[in-house]
Amino acid sequence: MLAIENILVRYGSITALHDISIKVQTGELVALIGANGAGKTTTLTTVAGNLKPVTGDIQFENTSIASLSPEQIIRKGIAIVPEGREIFASLTVEENLKLGAYIRRDRSEFKRDLDETVTMFPILGERIHQQGGTLSGGEQQQLAVARALMSHPKLLMMDEPSLGLAPALVDQIFELIVKLHDSGMTILLVEQNVERTLDIVKRAYLLKNGRVEAEGAPEVIRKHVDIESVYLGSKVN
């Protein structure tokens, strides 16, 4: 479904991604892991269209999206749950969700989706008229996921969804990811919580310094992570 092919991405004069190739098949749950600054978030940001690759290509359902704007890319069916959640603090929960459905201008469908969302995330139903900024971290994370789902994406990209959440909420988030995956959603997940992530995915990429260090089943990645922590004295998580 998604094929990132040898992309090179720069922030000004600094090269953030040297040569990244990543594939996600329909229905898959794939994780990107790696230390801070390895290029995970940059990869997602580039797919979402906020950064442009200097060389290389990004294919989504066999058409190139590398040169499209963020607003065109979401219309192709890619939604993002960004790092730090990026909830609109001054907008109500309902308005946040409405914007999530921006590309689908159909009132009756929105009503139905809203009902579904509220069933899936009951807490959002309780807070529906509250401002996004008044929600707790865990609630905001749910809202960010719910908002992304409102566009009915084919591919959901999640950036550090467990970051900054209490352990009990982290469990909730991972359960939610599994649930979404089980329901057929294709997911590209970026996480720092390596152990938990490798428990739920079948395939992952280990990024290091803007390159793909390893790729494959969780066991393969685990081996690499272990070697790194032994030889370099740094644990990835």
Partner: protein, 297 residues
């Protein structure tokens, strides 16, 4: 001291200032652009009214509508031609662009019309007054209060009830995230400029209604008012701009009443000193907005 007369005067001044401030902040919220050309939109509205006045026998309301439309169109065009291409460059670049657009429009007026002031015709209702109790209230003041109230209600509905309005508020908070939900950046920014032009156009009707004539530099005073009002109220929220506008209107009326004549000359200097002090010690203004400082680019 605070007679009904005074209150109505202050309220009408405040209403006008609120519209002025809102027109500036609606663009600032999204582009973080302090639009120096905003005052010139008011000037454009005034000249449109002046030129239409030369045409025979158009009803005044129609002329006013056309003038407002021209201000909106000008605002849209400045965005399309000048601001859009520099939008993603530095903040300094876009600010200087707005300064250049301001100079351009002013001198275009000089070139096309003249530096001398041009009298603008207003219908009799503007100059009349009604007697309330034992005071005369100028019709113009009532018109300002009513129009701005209606306009503010309409804008609130637009911003709260329509998807475009919600997107506009979202974009003022987190522009990139809004784009990642599929909201086209250009559309949102254009809408912000059109609303800014609408407000400038309506303001021009009343501003020029007060002065009675239009000159190329007429936009400077409203621009300065917008600066003061938005800084008082808080630049990071639309509500702040409106509150700041009303507050400044009252503050201005009170100062004009109590300040001795020889200090009255320094009124503007005083207001701007207050502006600097607020920016230094309470930069978020009275209404702390929730918007992040993120800039487009």
């Amino acid at each position: 001291m605070f007679s009904l007369d005074f209150l109505i005067n202050a309220l009408s001044l405040g209403s006008l200032y609120a519209l002025i401030a809102l027109g500036l902040v609606i663009v600032y919220g999204i582009l973080k652009l302090v639009n120096f050309a905003y005052g010139e939109l008011i000037m454009v509205g005034g000249y449109a009214l002046f030129m239409l006045g030369n045409l025979p026998a158009l009803p005044w309301l129609v002329m006013a509508l056309i003038a407002v439309t021209i201000a909106m169109l000008t605002s849209y065009l400045t965005e399309r031609v000048a601001f859009r291409p520099v939008r993603e460059k530095s903040l300094t670049a876009i600010l200087i662009t707005s300064f250049a657009v301001s100079t351009l429009l002013q001198n275009a007026a000089l070139l096309i019309v003249s530096s001398r002031s041009r009298a603008v015709q207003f219908p009799a209702i503007f100059s009349g007054s009604v007697r309330l109790g034992n005071v005369d209230i100028a019709n113009r003041n009532i018109l300002v209060i009513v129009t701005s109230t209606l306009l503010l209600i309409a804008l609130t509905l637009l911003l709260k009830r329509t998807i475009l309005g919600i997107a506009l508020r979202a974009a003022a908070d987190k522009f990139q995230m809004t784009r990642m939900l599929g909201v086209p950046a250009n559309l949102i920014i254009s809408v912000a400029f059109v609303i800014s032009g609408l407000l400038a156009g309506v303001v021009s009707l009343f501003w020029i209604g007060r002065v009675g004539s239009v000159t190329p530099t007429i936009g400077l005073s409203p621009l300065l008012i917008a600066f003061v009002a938005t800084v008082i109220g808080g630049m990071n929220s639309l509500e702040g701009a409106v509150v700041g506008g009303y507050l400044y209107g009252f503050l201005f009326s009170i100062i004009s009443l109590i300040l001795p004549q020889n200090l009255l000359d320094y009124r503007e200097a005083l207001m701007f000193s207050i502006v600097i002090l607020i920016l230094l010690f309470k930069p978020e203004g009275l209404i702390r907005g929730t918007y992040s400082g993120e800039r487009v680019g």
